[in-house]
Subunit: 115 residues, 2 copies
DNA sequence: TATAATACCTAAGAATCCAATGTATATTTG
DNA sequence: CAAATATACATTGGATTCTTAGGTATTATA
């Protein structure tokens, strides 16, 4: 999914959709390249999205009805802005909650010392 | 990886090795079936390992030199006990740390409200 | 003017996991 | 005591997800 310098890559699969949805929830609308830059910025370079993962995932989310797009021209260059649909909003809440719940359950296994 | 009733499955990939290594660190030695039962017990049924994921992963960890095995017969039935090798011990610390670091970075993206 | 940054995209292959299936022994329950 | 369930190992085909690598084109910077 990402170039992820600090972590073994296999640990991180399955969170790309969650990240995209959450950023769009936070920022209203964003285009692909902007998403990669924002993630890099927020995580101080520790998470870097690859385009080979990002663009297919955006297209998937759109075809699933979670995102809508509008094109804009900046000079001659196209930008595709993505925003959440109503069902995209719902799905964002679900995905974030699922991630938090999963982390909670993982901690039961990874830190049972004090249990 | 697992039958995971509460979570979307895609969120969870890449943590199976970490779970196995950590349980072996905690318990000294365990056999495959025991691992599935222990995970089910600790997570109160929220994480259930499938055998199709577990056994190939155990074999992979063994061939990578992180685990060793000893067979024991219980009546006529075989059990294969797995334990950590020295490099398995090191890898366990790495994997758990990587997971905790990844969670920290994900929270930067998922909860930037108060930032 | 060359290089880097911006901005989009696809395709081949690797890695990981699930579902299904298979084998066999031991225990519990009706 | 027979049937169902639990114990215990294992493999295979297919799905999903990501990486690597490549492609096109415009704009800004050195």
């Amino acid at each position: 999914m990402y170039i992820c310098p600090m972590y073994s890559k296999e640990l991180i699969k399955g969170t790309l959709k969650t990240i995209i949805l959450r950023l769009l929830e936070e920022n209203g609308r964003m285009y692909g390249y902007e998403i990669t830059q924002r993630v890099k910025e927020i995580t101080e370079g520790q998470l870097v999205l690859t385009e080979g993962a990002l663009y297919p995932t955006l297209h998937k989310l759109e075809s699933d009805g979670l995102l809508t797009t509008e094109k804009e021209f900046i000079g001659k260059r196209v930008r595709k802005y993505y925003s959440l649909t109503p069902s995209g909003n719902t799905e964002t809440l679900n995905k974030v909650n699922e991630f938090q719940e999963f982390v909670r359950v993982m901690q039961l296994i990874l830190k049972p010392k004090t249990a």
